[in-house]
C-alpha cells in the first residue's frame, strides 16, 4: 500500500515534534526514519498508527485519507522499542491476540500462528510468558504479533536497539529478508545511520521535527544536501574543514590553515562559479583521503592510530582541526609524525557556513 504524508505536523503545546513533513512511500518499500534522539520519529510513527492525531496535514493510505481512522481499522502492525508484549499472556496468546479480536475460526488462528511462529522461529517458546524470554526472543514474538494479521503497513520503532551487537546484525538481515519476502510496506525508525543505510530502500532524515532529506541511501551518502545530513550519515563521520576559495593566475584552489588544494578540470569550474574569496566548509569522508609522507593538499600530524581490523583509522591534526582518515593496514607512520594528506577531488563536498546547504550538487 502506498503511503503519502502531506505537510504533516504534530505539536505538543509549543513543541513542534513533527513539523510539515511530506513523504511518499511507494508500495512494498522499506523506508527508514532516521534522526537524532527527540527529532520526532516516534511521534511520526504513532501518527501513522493512529495513536496521535495530526495537528495539521494529511496521511493517505493508498487513495484514502486516514487522519480520523481508528488504529484498529488501519490494518497496520507495529513493533515497539519496548516490544510491549502482554505480560499476562503466553507467547502463543500474544501472537494470536490480533486474530482473536478479528473473531477468526479457531483452526485458522492455530494454522496462522504456527506458520508465523515458524517464519520467525519462535516455535519452541509458545508456552512461555514474555518475562521468561531474552530480548531477542521477545523481539521475534513482537514481530510475529505485528505480522500475523497480514498488515498493509508495518511500523517498527527501533526494534533492534535493545539487542547486543551480534544479534542486531543478524536481525537486521532477517527483518529485511522478511520484509522483501512478504512485500509489506514498512516504515522503520532508527537513530543508527548504519542500520538505516543497510536496511532501507529510502531514508527519511529528520532533525528537530523537520524532514531534511529523503532519498536512497547511497544518494544520501554520496550527495548530502545539507551539512546536517553529511554529519549524520557515515561512520566514522565526514571531516569538516574551514577553507576559502582562492583564485590565482586563472587557477582555483581551496586554502585554509595548513591546506593548499589546487583544483583542475570540471570541479575547478564549479568551484570558481561559487565566487573567489568566499569562505566555505569543506567536507570529505575518511575513506576519501590518502596519507603520504611527501607532499599533498594538507600538512598534518599523526595523533592517534586505531586499528579497525581491515583498516586503520588514523586521527590527525591539520593545524588545530582534527581529521580522521581510513588508511590501509600497511600504514605505519609513528604517532607524532608529519605527513601529507591528499583528498579525492571527485569526493569533496562544499557547504555554505550560514545556510548549511551543499554548494556543489
Amino acid at each position: 500500500m502506498e503511503i503519502a504524508l502531506d505537510n504533516l505536523s504534530k505539536h505538543f503545546g509549543k513543541v513542534k515534534a513533527v513539523d510539515e513533513v511530506s513523504i511518499k512511500v511507494p508500495d512494498g518499500e522499506f523506508v527508514a526514519l532516521l534522526g537524532p534522539s527527540g527529532c520526532g520519529k516516534t511521534t511520526l510513527l504513532l501518527m501513522l498508527a493512529g495513536i496521535y492525531k495530526p495537528t495539521t496535514g494529511t496521511i493517505r493510505f493508498g487513495e484514502k485519507v486516514v487522519n480520523d481512522l481508528l488504529p484498529k481499522d488501519r490494518k497496520i502492525g507495529m513493533v515497539f522499542q519496548s516490544y510491549a508484549l502482554y505480560p499476562h499472556m503466553s507467547v502463543y496468546e500474544n501472537i494470536v491476540f490480533p486474530l482473536r479480536l478479528q473473531r477468526l475460526p479457531a483452526n485458522v488462528v492455530r494454522d496462522r500462528a504456527h506458520k508465523m511462529a515458524e517464519l520467525v522461529q519462535v516455535q519452541g517458546l509458545l508456552d512461555r510468558k514474555p518475562g521468561q524470554l531474552s530480548g531477542g526472543q521477545q523481539q521475534r514474538v513482537a514481530l510475529s504479533r505485528a505480522l500475523i494479521k497480514e498488515p498493509d503497513l508495518l511500523l517498527l520503532d527501533e526494534p533492534l536497539s535493545n539487542l547486543d551487537a551480534k544479534l542486531r546484525i543478524a536481525m537486521r538481515a532477517e527483518i529485511k529478508r522478511l520484509q522483501k519476502d512478504l512485500g509489506i510496506t514498512t516504515i522503520f525508525v532508527t537513530h543508527d545511520q548504519l542500520e538505516a543505510m543497510t536496511m532501507a530502500d529510502r531514508i527519511a532524515l529528520l532533525n528537530n521535527g523537520k524532514l531534511v532529506a529523503y532519498s536512497q541511501p547511497h544518494d544520501l551518502y554520496d550527495r548530502p544536501k545539507t551539512l546536517f545530513a553529511a554529519e549524520f550519515i557515515g561512520s566514522p563521520p565526514m571531516n569538516f574543514l574551514r577553507i576559502r576559495i582562492e583564485e590565482k593566475d586563472g587557477g582555483v584552489a581551496l586554502a585554509g590553515e595548513g591546506i593548499q588544494m589546487p583544483l583542475a578540470g570540471e570541479i575547478a569550474q564549479k568551484v570558481k562559479s561559487l565566487g573567489g574569496g568566499r569562505e566555505v566548509i569543506l567536507g570529505i569522508r575518511p575513506e576519501d583521503i590518502t596519507v603520504a609522507t611527501d607532499s599533498g593538499d594538507a600538512k598534518a600530524e599523526v595523533y592517534i592510530i586505531e586499528p579497525l581490523g581491515r583498516d586503520m583509522l588514523v586521527d590527525l591534526h591539520v593545524q588545530a582541526t582534527p581529521v580522521r582518515v581510513l588508511a590501509p593496514p600497511t600504514f605505519n607512520a609513528p604517532i607524532g609524525a608529519s605527513v601529507a594528506l591528499t583528498m579525492d577531488r571527485t569526493k569533496i563536498h562544499l557547504f555554505d557556513p550560514q545556510t548549511e546547504q551543499a554548494l556543489l550538487n
Binding site: L46, A49, G50, I51, L70, P71, K72, R74, I76, G77, M78, F80, Q81, S82, A84, L85, Y86, P87, H88, F97, P98, L101, Q102, R145, K149
Partner: protein, 275 residues
C-alpha cells in the same frame, strides 16, 4: 561481629516489639476458654463461652445471622469499591479531561478527611433517600468513604502500566474499552486483588458507620454485635466477649496469612501515584 549475630538483631527487635500484641492475642484465646483469668493464668477451663455458636445469647440474633449480615455488608462493599476505583483510577491515570487535577487533589483531601464529622449529614441524606437502617445504605456510605483511597491506589497501579502496551493493544485491534478490559486490567490484577481484600476486611471490621446507621439488630454486622455485648446494663461476661472477638478475628488472621502477598502489593506497586 559474627554475621549470625548481626542478622539476628532485627529479629530480636521485632520480637520485642510484637510481644505486647502477641500477649494480647494469647489472653484473648485463654480468656475465651476459661471461666475466669488471673492475668494470663486461666482458671476453670470451659467451652461455655462458645455456646453462642449454637444458641443465641439472650434476646440477640444468632451469630450465624450476624455473620450473614456482615458478609452482606462486606462483600458488596469490596466489589463496588474495586469496580468503581478501577474505572475512576484508569480515567485519572490515562485520560485528559477538564477538572482532572482538581479531582485528583480532592481525592487526597477527602481521603484525609475525618469521616466521623460527616455522620450527621449522612444521617439526613440516608433518611431522605429512605436508606436509613438498611444494608444497602451503609454499603453506599462505606463505598463512598473508601473510594478516595481506592481510586488513588488504582491510579498508582495504572501509572505503572506502560503506554506502549496500551498502544499495542489499540493497534492489534482493540477498542479503548476492550484494551482496558483485556489488557490493562489483567496486568494490574494484583492491585485489584489487594484492594478487594483490603476493602472487604475493612467492611468486616467496620464499626462506626454500621453502628450509626443500622438500628435493627438482625442486620447489624459482627463488630456492632460485639459492642452490644459489652454495652449490657446487667453485667459484662468477658469470657463471651473474648470468644465472639476471637470469632471475628480468626477469619481475618487466616485471610492475612493467605493473602498477605497481595496486600503487600498495595504498598509496593501502588502508592507511587503522582499527578
Amino acid at each position: 561481629m559474627p554475621n549470625r549475630l548481626r542478622s539476628a538483631i532485627p529479629y530480636v527487635l521485632l520480637i520485642l516489639l510484637t510481644t505486647p500484641i502477641l500477649v494480647g492475642y494469647l489472653w484473648l484465646f485463654i480468656s475465651s476458654m476459661s471461666a475466669r483469668t488471673y492475668g494470663l493464668r486461666p482458671e476453670g477451663l470451659t467451652l461455655e463461652n462458645w455456646r453462642f455458636l449454637v444458641e443465641p445469647i439472650r434476646s440477640r440474633p444468632s451469630i450465624w445471622q450476624v455473620l450473614l449480615s456482615t458478609l452482606a455488608f462486606a462483600i458488596p462493599l469490596g466489589l463496588l469499591d474495586v469496580t468503581i476505583s478501577s474505572m475512576a483510577g484508569y480515567a485519572l491515570s490515562r485520560l485528559r479531561f477538564p477538572g482532572r487535577r482538581m479531582f485528583l487533589s480532592f481525592t487526597i483531601v477527602l481521603h484525609a478527611f475525618p469521616s466521623a464529622t460527616l455522620l450527621i449529614a449522612i444521617f439526613f441524606v440516608l433518611r431522605a433517600i429512605k436508606l436509613y437502617d438498611s444494608i444497602l445504605g451503609v454499603v453506599l456510605v462505606s463505598v463512598s468513604l473508601g473510594l478516595p483511597l481506592g481510586i488513588w491506589l488504582m491510579k498508582g497501579f495504572y501509572d505503572n502500566v506502560s503506554w506502549d502496551i496500551e498502544m499495542a493493544a489499540l493497534i492489534d485491534g482493540c477498542s479503548r474499552l476492550r484494551t482496558w478490559w483485556s489488557v490493562v486490567l489483567p496486568i494490574i490484577r494484583p492491585g485489584l486483588a489487594a484492594l478487594l481484600i483490603f476493602s472487604f476486611l475493612g467492611g468486616w471490621g467496620a464499626y462506626i458507620i454500621p453502628y450509626t446507621f443500622l438500628v435493627t439488630a438482625t442486620i447489624q454486622p459482627i463488630s456492632v454485635f460485639l459492642q452490644s455485648l459489652t454495652g449490657d446494663y446487667t453485667f459484662v461476661n468477658y469470657g463471651v466477649v473474648t470468644a465472639v472477638g476471637l470469632f471475628q478475628l480468626l477469619p481475618v488472621l487466616l485471610f492475612y496469612l493467605f493473602t498477605q502477598r497481595y496486600l503487600l502489593n498495595l504498598y509496593s506497586g501502588g502508592m507511587k501515584g503522582g499527578a
